[in-house]
């Protein structure tokens, strides 16, 4: 009986394939890649695209970055089982914290199109939070070396396991796509505290309106964090009874030093204009969190490019501004230099996690062949109030207030 049931189930799930005509299954393999080199003018801060990366770019290159920062190679398998049933698997070789195979599996989903304007997908999907967050690894698809880091560092989660439903509407001369998604993200991240696992149920909605040259996008995304950041030493101090005896109210700071069971809300608006000569991208977003570990962050960027035949010249201004509510650290009831030092250290650890940085870039892209582009970019970053939260802190030296980052690379598709 069990065997019969299994057979029936197999037939049921394979029926779209079995009933398909001769042209199915139809499959194709394609891919994309980038190879680049990044250099900076400091060894105190390590430049990373986001917290998924374990190696950072520096002046000396000793932290292992430079080549790995922008280099990646992706391969994608697409299979059509019928005109309404499709599957996509995409895997990307890149510097990524955690399991190299599992964490780099970017897409693995089945999509079903019950109608031409309706898409239902289930499996591993790219997190669609910002304008290009689901294609940020595909360097060939954008003009820069990498998406503006002031903005895209904020959300280091690339993918989630779940489902989305997208419905398209024809409005005037354009198309509106409304998508809702929900699932569970499991991402391995790397920071000054070492590697940690970030797991979270999430849900969101995105609206995209596209006309000939314009694309406008609005996204809301809710995430609930199920895992803790490994800051046991900080929490150990905060929960220490002896310290609490001399610094009353210290244990109340535990929630400000914790990530677990906190909620994140992302709201973003983005637009792109491309008339084949001029190219403009702009985005603004607000991240609201319930913990000082993440803070509230307002960020945005604007990029303008001009094409001259196969050359594109562009410049970008970006900003990430943490607007954390300041957490007051209890003052010791006895005047002791060590306790005052502890108060100062706690202030730094809890109130210094949000970014306060701006950047200005100029760069160029040269489409040397229809599927190969050479790129270069120079970025000047400035920080306020030790606002280099998106960077790795490699030594105890005073943080520089400005850093230059330059890069060259090649992007291709196949």
């Amino acid at each position: 009986m069990t065997k019969k049931l299994s057979l029936l189930l197999i037939v049921f799930f394979l029926s779209p394939i079995i009933q398909a005509d001769d042209q199915y299954p139809d499959w194709s393999v394609s891919g994309f890649g980038s190879f680049g080199y990044v250099g900076t003018d400091t060894n105190s801060l390590g430049f990373i695209r986001n917290r998924t990366q374990t190696k950072s770019a520096t002046k000396s290159g000793e932290s292992g970055g430079g080549v790995t920062t922008d280099s990646r190679l992706g391969i994608q398998l697409d299979v059509d089982f019928s005109d309404s049933l499709h599957t996509t698997v995409q895997w990307i070789a890149r510097d990524q914290a955690g399991d190299f195979f599992e964490q780099n599996l970017e897409l693995a989903f089945i999509s079903w199109r019950p109608a031409y304007d309706l898409d239902i997908r289930a499996g591993r999907l790219a997190l669609d939070t910002f304008l290009i967050s689901d294609t940020r690894n595909v360097g060939f698809s954008y003009p820069w070396m990498r998406p503006p880091s002031d903005f895209y560092s904020k959300i280091p989660v690339y993918h989630f396991d779940g489902a989305d439903i997208a419905k398209q509407f024809s409005i005037d001369s354009g198309y509106l796509t409304v998508k809702v998604f929900a699932g569970y993200a499991m991402s391995d991240l790397f920071g000054d505290v070492g590697m940690f696992d970030m797991e979270m149920p999430l849900t969101g909605i995105s609206l995209v309106y596209e006309t000939d040259n314009w694309l406008m996008k609005a996204v809301y995304n809710f995430q609930h964090i199920d895992t803790e950041i490994p800051n046991e030493s900080l929490l150990g101090v905060i929960n220490n009874p002896q310290f609490n005896a001399v610094m009353p109210g210290l244990s109340a700071l535990a929630s400000d030093a914790s990530l677990k069971d906190t909620n994140l809300h992302y709201m973003s608006l983005g637009t792109r204009y491309d008339d084949a000569v001029w190219l403009m991208h702009a985005e603004i977003s607000y991240l609201e969190s319930e913990t000082a570990v993440v803070g509230d962050v307002l960020s945005g960027y604007m990029s303008i490019g001009r094409r001259f035949s196969d050359f594109t010249l562009y410049s970008v201004y970006g900003i990430a501004h943490g607007i954390n509510k300041h957490v007051d650290i209890p003052t010791p009831i006895v005047s002791d230099s060590r306790l005052l030092g502890l108060q100062s250290s706690l202030d730094l650890a809890i109130n210094n996690n949000t970014p306060k940085q701006q950047s200005f870039s100029v760069g160029a892209r040269w489409d040397v062949y229809p599927k190969i582009a050479l790129k270069t970019q120079w970025v000047h970053y400035w920080f306020e109030d030790n606002g280099s939260a998106y960077w790795l802190h490699l030594d105890d030296a005073t943080e520089p207030s400005q850093v230059n980052v330059w890069s060259v690379g090649v992007d291709f598709i196949f």
């Binding site: 996509t88 199109r113 304007d117 294609t135 229809p370």
Partner: protein, 137 residues
Amino acid sequence: MKFITLSLLLLFTSSLLADIVVIGNLQNSNPMMSARAVQEIYMGRKRALADGNIAQPIGHRDLREAFYTYLTTRPIAQINAYWARLKFSGHRTQPEILSGTAEVISKVKANKNVIAYINDQHVNESEVRILFVIKDK
């Protein structure tokens, strides 16, 4: 000799200056397509033909650049970058690109929802239906 040279020249230039036609299966009963309708399908913005069936657009390797330049006035590198964004986000399947006209026609004949573009010199209207004509300028 002059006649042969002239004939060869005409033969050569006529193949270069030929129109591109968008073709469909003989059972495709949709009305003739507009440039916009063709563009929307080949740019992945719209999936359906006028009758609501899901279109299956096919590309032709040798004509792809001229086809997209006419439809969008964009160089092929920009089209490739555009499709890289749609395809590698997992939202759209890029039109399959075939290398031979015979292969393209065979695909069109095999499925009533397939549309494709070929050089008009290769059109046999007893085999396929013309849905749109791109006049060579």
